[in-house]
């Protein structure tokens, strides 16, 4: 015989706990009287308030992100867009040209696979 059956045979499973007479009949009304008045769906109101707040935050966040992106985009350009004074224009143009001569033309020729001989030939024909 299973152990549970031994207990059931010995003790049964009757509820030995009694309640005062009419307890459950009165209990329901007692509980209903004790219930607090629920506010008109406070959680829903809070939820709506929460949604509105998040909406506002989202708008501000989006605006801040756009401003940030614009600022970050403009910043490098601003640093390169320093207004040149007339005296520096000539110098800067010369240095820029020199820089171009030294750095980019050789690379460009390499990529174009043009030899020095071909360049000389081309220049002599042209002139």
């Amino acid at each position: 015989m299973k152990e549970e059956d031994i207990i059931r045979k010995k003790c049964g499973s009757k509820n030995p706990f009694l309640v005062p007479e009419g307890y459950f009949e009165n209990f329901t009304s007692k509980v209903m009287d004790a219930l607090p008045e629920l506010k008109t769906s406070p959680k829903t109101v809070n939820k709506e308030m929460g949604h509105a707040r998040w909406k506002r935050i989202a708008i501000f966040a989006a605006a801040a992100a756009i401003c940030g992106a614009m600022f970050m985009g403009i910043l490098p350009q601003l640093s390169t867009m320093q207004a040149p004074t007339p005296s520096t224009i000539q110098v800067s143009q010369t240095t820029e040209l020199n820089a171009i001569d030294e750095t980019y033309i050789e690379d460009a020729l390499d990529y174009a696979m043009v030899s020095n001989h071909e360049i000389v030939q081309y220049l002599s024909e042209a002139y």
Binding site: E4, V19, M32, L38
Partner: protein, 181 residues
Amino acid sequence: MLIEEEDQIIQDLKQAERRRKAFEHLVSQYSPQLYRQIRRMVYGHDDTNDILQNTFIKAWTNIESFRGDARLSTWLYKIALNETLNFIHREKEMNAIDTTDTSIANRLMADEYFDGDETELQLQHAISLLPEKQRIVFQMKYYEEMRYEEMSKILDTSIGALKASYHHAVKKICEFFNNND
């Protein structure tokens, strides 16, 4: 309670104008079984009455948090169990509940609302000596014949663990009777 009836109550609980009436129905339907469950844990009628009232008040104030995922009975059992365990732990801290060998038997013998013979008294005593979880599982299964699936939802414990708890509880109670016969 039939599933259709429970569904109707759930629908009514969601509507403010019908909520109170539906809740009244809920209280009258579930108070006897919740009372039994609480009483077997705390033994005294007055304490059970207080815990049961608190259970329903808590259910009422949190009614909007009930989403209908679980059965109403499961939800109520869970609240009742939490309230009961809080009460027991509070009382233990205050040393008001004496769980020594003879205290439960003495308390029950002195209780005018306890209707049990000597064997029943022994059984209650044996149950009171079980660890808390085993005691809860044993009472749900042995007296209420609750399915393990529902128990699992109430206690947030796997079915395997519940079966093991019940098995250990039964074994210990048998041993208790063997030692005391």
